[in-house]
Symmetry: C2
Subunit: 299 residues, 2 copies
């Protein structure tokens, strides 16, 4: 059973086939968030702090931290954000950048074993990111595209994932430190993308025996009621073997889908987490509905 | 590809691996509904009619009709209920009774090809129900238990299903007219029951090539937030190959899980049904949220 360990200075998270699903909070990312981008550029991390606390309170097991702001000093900002988030929460972080110097700056200040987000199958990325991952003993998200782009054929993407794993081994990075992103396409554009991902995730688990993650919200791009599609996607993908996702834990419906999937997979012994999460709310709802005030007081 | 055809006088429903999931409304059932039981006993079918219309409006593709009332004349009541429901809706029906004479009374008045609910692997049931199914050219729900009870081992239940299919063949009932119920156990009591059902449903599809149905709500018995668990179960079970379920279409969350699963399976071309169901609601919600009254009026 493959387990990917990541940790902060004080907390360990295990991503694995027999573990509860790991939710990596996506909110600390200035892409498309103009106010957050301006604040981070100006050294104001108050919103980063609030986002970190809110996501952990909502049940995120890890947080993704991204500082991709055009023309800004991304390495310095990412390092500051990593330090700030580690000072207010104890969950392990995913250090997220397309700039290698920013990944290094984040890793240099990070306390614990981080998840580096990400490396692709492109030669220049392999040669620049993998040495960093090896140097810091980190885990890494491997995105299954290469110089030829993103293939629509999941079996081609499988070969890219395999290449990244082999190349990582050359740098001494073990398979359990690689978390493959199958790349989820919007199902509104490619109707078969749901079945493609299930097939791909199952092959990654059964044949390559690696953990997996993905940006789950992409699947619902362009559709109404996105949380409904995201919930269906996550539930099915967990069934196929997906072991983590970068998503928004502030959406209660999505977190419910994850907790429900854990129950169905037998990863919530005695349904204890489910009962803890929903018991109180249901009991008070039922009580209110029936006007049993006495029972409520004694409960 | 196995397709189970059922129909009313004017409408056909196809249950199959490559078809949208079929929801069979469970509400017309006096078990545990004291007022409904009294009304049906007294020849008052107004609630049956209302339940039929509401379930079809909520998206049910078929309706289950049960008249199991202790000490009542079940054959006569079931026949009346079947006639009434067929007079107000055009969806095909599942005729549901544990009394063979009631199944026969329902079949005698039914217009079209019904689903008979159900036969088990018990000898006396096989010998009394299968001839009826053959006589009326109906389809039948096959429940995978026998004289020894319900095995906790899904592979034992698989053998029971296989026996029923073989016995049905002796009566000239083809495999496509049999819809196997894998029997879903409450996951609060048996934590592995989710994985068991997925495994069993996959074997039924891949090895026996039969369609499947189940009483989906049973999985959440005893747990809070039952619709959340039922949604996770249905989504995963559809992914494993479940092709229909007897459930409550009046729960919007459960219907959303089914529609979302159809999208993920590629059974909703261009996501057309999803968009139709949620576009208007989302648009008006978004409008209300942002106070864009003009846009709402023009939409």
């Amino acid at each position: 059973m493959t387990v990917t360990l990541v940790c902060s200075a004080s907390k360990e998270v295990r991503i694995g086939f027999d573990q509860p699903f790991v939710v990596i909070g996506e909110r600390i990312n200035p892409t498309g968030r103009k106010i957050l981008a301006e604040e981070m550029s100006n050294g104001d991390y108050s919103r980063v702090e609030a986002d970190a606390l809110a996501q952990v309170a909502a049940g995120a097991h890890m947080l993704d931290v991204n500082a991709g702001i055009p023309l800004a000093d991304e390495p310095a900002i990412l390092a500051e954000a990593v330090k700030l988030v580690q000072s207010v929460t104890d969950v392990p972080l995913s250090i997220d950048s397309s700039i290698v110097a920013a990944l290094e700056a984040g890793l240099a200040v990070y306390q614990g074993k981080a998840l580096v987000n990400s490396v692709t199958g492109e030669e220049d990325r392999l040669e620049s990111v993998l040495p960093l991952v090896a140097k810091y003993g980190a885990a890494v998200v491997a995105i299954s595209n290469d110089e030829t782009g993103i293939s629509e054929d999941p079996d081609v993407r499988f070969e890219v994932a395999k290449k990244i794993i082999e190349r990582a081994a050359d740098y001494g990075i073990p398979r359990e430190n690689i978390v493959v992103d199958p790349l989820v396409m919007p199902i509104g554009a490619i109707n078969s993308s749901g079945k493609q991902v299930m097939h791909f995730v199952r092959r990654l688990r059964d044949e390559l025996k690696v953990n997996t993650t993905c940006g789950a919200s992409n699947v619902s791009f362009g559709l109404p009621n996105r949380n409904g599609i995201n919930s269906a996607f996550l539930t099915m993908a967990i069934s196929a073997g997906l072991t983590s996702a970068i998503t928004n834990p502030l959406h209660a419906e999505v977190m419910q889908a994850v907790l429900g999937a854990d129950v169905m997979m037998g990863h919530d012994p005695h349904c204890a987490r489910w009962i803890q999460q929903y018991r109180e709310k249901s009991a008070s709802d039922a009580t209110r509905g029936r006007g049993r005030r006495k029972r409520r007081r004694s409960g």
